[in-house]
Symmetry: C2
Subunit: 765 residues, 2 copies
């Protein structure tokens, strides 16, 4: 598959098969289509100017037909950058790093490219690290920055050592440019014999280089940082030795103190809630400053923090005028949109989008107050939401690569068994949405060793059970058992094996594909043999000592629906006896509500889910939420909502997994989803779910799908793929430029092509 | 085993079992005993002053009873430092890094120590990296440099992130000091549940911290560099635009240009030989300088190089007065010595010691001109020589750890199959000489995964054969076959399995010990079934397609002798038909001469070997060698000696493996070797080999063994262990303070204790 159009400035690697240069010249024109600024950046749809301003900061304009970009060993930059990001967490002024193994980049890597030139040409070079440069194996002296590439067939190679940051190279001549068509290795094995002959049996394994969007020689990967912009407080309450400010909504960045003078201490208390910022001993984020400023001046604190409220308290001998901030953000493009007849749902979508914006940083993180780490289960949902909001593939692949780290595998991803499985599943999802085989090629070996780790940890019945050192997480839920062989873990494991089979197929690794398929099939059978309880009409929660428990929870049952593991009859049973059954323990995290509501949507319960959304997310909005929370329990009162982990303000009030309405509304109301990898083919199955009308945009790798839906009309305009619109209608729908086909009583299909506009008149059932 | 005395400033980790602090107070007194400066540092035995001057640079004096030292995750500093060192090679001004995988340290590590104090005490802290500090799991705010440790039982922990250099900590209070009794991990897995409770099933694996000799808070490990001292040229030949200097012997360091003025180019041509320094296009080492110095001043070139001669050629517009150098060296203590009645042998020993001195740097390297890398086969010999020269265990363990790197194992060590086996065997040797179990504990896991790699590469007959990507090296020898299943590889593999069995025993891993033993036994049987040729009275060189070849080489046959794999009868056969047989291809590298002469010595051929030594090493001396070479072929003439790898000056004229007389003279003439780990018991079997007299010192972990031997008298004074002196004498030897026991006709044994002097009168046979 080769993509013809690229829409964002950051998805170059992710969505092209082998050669990105052929399509690069369309980038700029294409970027103008469908751009929206994020809600934070002055409401929606501010337009193009800001975007290009950001673009020039972030990904300099592409000038040449062939595009040079900084390259590295794939995965290395992702690991290095995630180390930087994940080590920014603090808790009350203490450094708070992750508790799992952090890997490092390869410190010595060897890059090469074979080229064929009709005439010699000048090339410029830039390297991050100590390096040598060779043409056809012959080294140049010193560290050249400019060389003449000879005419004819030759090989240019660079070998780079860098301990502190990632070995990376940039090469640019008229026809030879560093890009992902270069090959790279971390052990070239180029030994020589006593006569000086280089080994011909080294069998060095080269992989395609990794890259992102560092397209100018001066855009050093090691110097990357997210952009910021100034932002003022909405209200300020200045007292003798303190300033208390409210930025009007949840935000993230660097606090700036204005016109500071004097010598003494200042303390910055941050709060996602007013109560937290007012608490001098209970808040999660506190920074201490030693001020020694004889001359009046501004101070920007160099640690980025999450907050809505800031309380700055300072000594007698210190004074200051004002507190503002620098908002730090990832300049991803918001291509997806949703609007409907229900203003509360619109607000929920907007706050969800803002929640995603705040948590979309160098990587998709869990929450901006804490942990600011990359968590696989959280990220798996961010990817899905991303496909309906940004379709920024590089942030997905960066996050997946960072989560995986390197061999050897010494624990589950984030130490959590289920998070390992979500990691596999997210690759399945990624391929479905993007059709990107290059990423599969880059990741396959590490997928295999990760799967080897899992397979080696099966018990005698071939099931996964928490071993010492494994965190079986599932969900934050009171009294939830993690003991024995939990059904949801087997189900996720089964889907992981299916992912491996899919990827093995893509890698033409037929033997492995057959093996993974057979392992998946075997496990799926066990899932039903061991856990399906006909009396309970459901999968039970777990087995203990080889016997199923009586406990029924929602987890495996909801996944079974949208994984399509159940028969139709089983789905209906599960819906009735589990999903719609109030006696089954309720889910209180937006994290698992994501899948619960997805399962209900997949069962056509859009009306019910819309009410649930209004109730649950609307409930947070009613409590003044400006971003969605890590957990929400309507039974709690006042500041009780802020507590978690035994700490009064332990809960994150801006957690990525809170943003699921973006996904649900895009996939199950607008009803758009890929049916072939990368939206080569896709399905549109609109469900108003009680709304009068809705309209929106769903981004895809090669252009947007725009929809406008009422109870009597569906309008579609799509820049990509072969679409199938599936309409429920009392009478046969009418479409002037497409054939309408009846599938079954009351169900019709309209097939669409890219680049055309369609209007379908129908009569809602 | 716990050592009671420690002799050098650098062997703290290596030779103590669990707790080093108990013996530390004896360090200073002990260091004064038996110190000798290296030959370079102004001839032998210059004395104590210089040593203490060096010591203050390198390992500041220890003041407290409990000794604080910088600690890190074991192996990490070794990997990091070896990356630095191995990336210093250049070839004619081009950066020339290794061709194997370089690993990196863990960027995030967690240290802790449980302590019990009767009263609170102040502790100072220093950390390399971003860190948090906790007592009993409760974090301090910020980055404290000084805290009060509470009375009672508590745990102090530090978690450190550092990408560019190794996370390291230094803690010092009256009773709590950072040392190898601290525990460290790279994944603490300290997750918490929703209530804030830390996991009690994390099963975190902690290992004892690594350390070296950074015993002051200000001795930052990341800032380590070897000391240097000024050295002048012996002769200078100054021309219009050049200065040609001779430093009188092989040396290493930084060239210094004096009173430079002007603007223009200068080129430094280095030469181990005069011819190399005179060659403008053929030398291995050349540096280009751009001089822009309006004011007269000195310039020291910042790249360290190997040379005896330097030719500096500069532009018209540049002038300079003089060329000198800064000699860079490792301040290890030369404890071993050897003197005898043959002045040529004395010279050989001295030049060997100097060759070792030059190649003993941050690690034991192969050669100082190139590769300046750590090669396992070369290093294995350096370790053995070290036991008779410095007994500097930290340089041994650093080198072993650096060679191993980290998991996953992606190739043989240095890509060479035999070098993987020497790596195992060197651990066997190390344990024999030092008795250091801590190092085994620190290394065992990586030994196992390295062995797993080997075991997985056996062919269907259970033998090792070069697979794609494997370099089967053996030796530099014309036409030597590396095809099929080479016997020497199986023999080294067998010894490696025996090493694993030994270490598994030390680790109380009985199951693994039994398995490795059985695998070794099985392989040893195959060695004789498949390779022993009764007609040829030898092991043949290899098998091809399951059939033994006709070829007999020295390799497996000489190892079989000192590995003691042969029966006495086989040994005699091999000696006659292989070792003393001129029709068997000769060995031309000092590398394999090391083992060849060792085998002959083990067969009692000291007379013969002495002549060989005088012939071979004496041959190099006759050609003007001031250090011993990578390869020596007496048949070559003039500058032919300098060529190798198809390059006119490709040969290293200062190669560690050239220094083997140190080992041979110590082990097989003075005749001292350990019989119990760490010289708890040892054997002294003097063999004059035709010399009139000899005297010398053999260092051991706990003190020196001093010997003086003539044809009628043996004097021994040993600070350590239970010795057995084995004497061949016509009549029963006489010793006033020990019992003399007859072993067999003409062979007597005298048992000695530490701290006493013994004089044995005997009559040489």
């Amino acid at each position: 598959m080769k993509n013809l159009i690229q829409n964002t400035n950051k998805n170059v690697i992710a969505r092209s098969d082998n050669d990105v240069s052929t399509s690069s010249h369309t980038d700029i024109a294409e970027r103008k289509i469908g751009f929206k600024s994020s809600p934070f950046r002055g409401g929606f749809r501010r337009g193009f100017l800001l975007f290009f301003a950001l673009l020039s900061l972030f990904a300099p304009e592409i000038k040449a037909q062939t595009k040079a970009t900084w390259i590295w060993y794939p995965g290395d930059y992702e690991i290095w950058l995630s180390n930087k990001m994940q080590n920014r967490r603090t808790e009350r002024g203490s450094f708070f790093p992750p508790f799992w193994k952090l890997d490092s980049h390869y410190v010595l890597t060897d890059f090469h490219k074979d080229f064929n030139l009709s005439a010699p040409e000048e090339a410029e070079l830039m390297v991050e690290g100590q390096y040598n440069l060779k043409v056809d194996g012959k080294a140049f002296s010193g560290y050249p920055k400019r060389i003449t590439l000879p005419a004819g067939k030759h090989r240019i190679s660079l070998k780079v050592y860098n301990q502190g940051s990632v070995p990376a190279v940039f090469v640019k001549s008229a026809n030879v440019v560093s890009d992902t068509s270069w090959k790279v290795t971390y052990e070239d094995k180029e030994w020589i014999d006593a006569s000086g002959k280089t080994s011909d049996i080294s069998a060095t394994q080269y992989v395609p280089a990794g890259a992102w969007n560092f397209n100018e020689v001066t855009s050093l990967p090691s110097q990357f940082h997210l952009p910021t912009k100034a932002q003022k407080a909405v209200t300020t309450d200045k007292k003798a030795h303190s300033i208390f400010v409210d930025f009007g909504k949840e935000t993230f960045g660097f606090v700036k103190l204005h016109n500071v003078i004097g010598k003494g201490k200042a303390t910055i208390y941050y709060g996602e809630s007013k109560e937290e910022a007012m608490s001098t001993d209970g808040g999660e984020l506190v920074d201490q400053l030693e001020i020694n400023q004889p001359q009046n001046g501004d101070i920007t604190y160099d640690g980025s923090r999450a907050f809505r409220y800031v309380n700055v308290v300072y000594d007698d001998a210190v004074s200051m005028d004002e507190v503002s901030m620098l908002y730090e953000y990832s300049p991803v493009e918001q291509r997806g949109s949703f609007k409907c007849s229900d203003e509360q749902i619109n607000k929920i979508w907007e706050v969800s989008a803002y929640t995603m914006e705040l948590n979309t940083r160098e990587f998709f993180i869990d929450g901006i107050k804490r942990d600011r780490w990359v968590w696989s289960g959280d990220a798996a949902q961010s990817y899905l939401m991303n496909y309906y909001l940004y379709f920024d593939s590089p942030t997905v692949t960066r996050t997946i690569s960072a989560l995986r780290g390197k061999d050897p595998v010494t624990s589950h991803i984030n130490t959590i068994m289920d998070y390992t499985f979500y990691w596999f599943i997210s690759i399945y999802d990624y391929y479905q949405h993007t059709g990107d085989k290059t990423f599969i090629q880059q990741s396959y070996q590490r997928m295999q060793t990760m799967m080897d780790y899992c397979l080696a940890r099966r018990n005698k019945d071939g099931l996964m059970q928490g071993l010492t050192g494994d965190w079986v997480f599932i969900d934050w839920a009171d009294g939830l058992s993690k003991q024995g062989e939990v059904s949801i873990e087997q189900m996720l494991f089964c889907r992981s094996l299916e992912t491996m089979a899919l990827c093995a197929d893509i890698m033409h690794d037929g033997k492995a594909a057959a093996q993974y398929s057979s392992q998946a099939k075997d496990l799926k059978e066990k899932l039903f043999t061991y856990y399906w309880d006909a009396q309970k009409h459901a999968l039970v929660h777990s087995r203990m000592n080889g016997k199923p428990t009586d406990n029924v929870t929602r987890y495996a049952n909801m996944f079974g629906i949208f994984f399509n593991y159940f028969t139709e009859a089983q789905k209906q049973e599960v819906k009735k006896y589990v999903l719609m059954n109030d006696k089954i323990q309720k889910i209180t995290t937006p994290y698992m509500r994501f899948y619960e509501l997805e399962a209900l949507c997949a069962m056509g319960e859009q009306d019910y889910v819309l009410k649930q959304m209004k109730d649950y997310w609307g409930g947070m909005l009613n409590l003044g939420a400006t971003s969605f929370w890590e957990e929400y329990n309507p039974d709690k009162k006042g500041a009780e909502h802020y507590a978690m982990y035994g700490r009064p303000f332990g809960k994150s009030l801006c957690h990525a997994w809170g943003a699921s309405p973006i996904y649900l509304l895009g996939k199950y109301y607008l009803g758009v989803k890929p049916t072939g990898p990368g939206y080569q083919t896709y399905l549109v199955e609109p469900q108003l779910g009680g709304l009068k009308w809705m309209e929106g945009t769903v981004p895809t790798p090669n252009g947007d799908i725009k929809l406008s839906i009422t109870t009597s009309q569906i309008k579609l305009s799509a820049a990509t793929g072969i679409g199938t619109i599936r309409v429920k209608s009392k009478t046969k729908p009418v479409c002037s430029n497409a054939t309408v086909k009846m599938v079954s009583a009351g169900l019709y299909e309209v097939s669409t092509q890219k680049g055309k506009d369609y209007t379908i008149k129908y009569t809602a059932i």
